[in-house]
Subunit: 132 residues, 2 copies
Amino acid sequence: MEKRRNYSRKREAILNAVRSTTSHPTADWIYEKLKPEYPDLSLGTVYRNLAQFKEDGTIISIGVVNGQERFDGNVKPHTHFVCSECGCVLDVPEEFINPDRMAQIEKEYHMRIDSADLLLRGICPDCFKKIR
Amino acid sequence: MEKRRNYSRKREAILNAVRSTTSHPTADWIYEKLKPEYPDLSLGTVYRNLAQFKEDGTIISIGVVNGQERFDGNVKPHTHFVCSECGCVLDVPEEFINPDRMAQIEKEYHMRIDSADLLLRGICPDCFKKIR
DNA sequence: CTCCGTGCAAATACTTTGCAAAGCG
DNA sequence: CGCTTTGCAAAGTATTTGCACGGAG
């Protein structure tokens, strides 16, 4: 049932690009970043490969921020913070969710929980400094 | 600095529509629901008013699910669950976040946290039953 | 040789916006 | 009357897709 997958230099570059940053990039950010080295890269390819990686679980999607989907090469569960001032997305290396509690919920509601993402919103340290 | 706001029957209807359901509706859902009673309602108006309510804090946005933004008239912090099978959005009336812990983080990182939303993903009770 | 991967451009799918007319206070 | 709200349609934006060709196995 699995689809055969050939090697592709561009696909590799896209994955590396996502993994090389903690900025939680958008598809376009990756496209722009790789464009110099791969002048014939197309945005469609970036989208197609990101979708594939997401499906494979190689990367995750943080969700849509200001109309653009943001990705993360760090698959380990962690909390994200979105600044309502500058729109940046930061990692918060804190564990909030209790796995036991989650298992309890699954049983109680007769459902399956695959992931639990905590999203914080507010003013990031940089903007916080500037404002006051 | 506050903007004057006139009364509008349609605005009221839109707010009631969001509040009348726990389905976490999309803009289009609201539009379709009100269309029979307000035949000259326009989708633009729905979008404009939802944006306004969101800004006022009268409603909240759950985020974008499958390309569409979903709203919630229940402003009280609570957890949401998105089914990856049918795309439905459910409420999970559980409190996971510890406010003290949150305050601690704010101080530690020198930032301001305005909201903390937990989003679960998995298979909802209905789909869970059907699948097995 | 047989599929997979890609560029390119066209097509989608939501959402936003400009403008003139209608409505509230 | 002055400012707000709205319908309508056009514009915008991010993302997806069809197709023909180059590339990996």
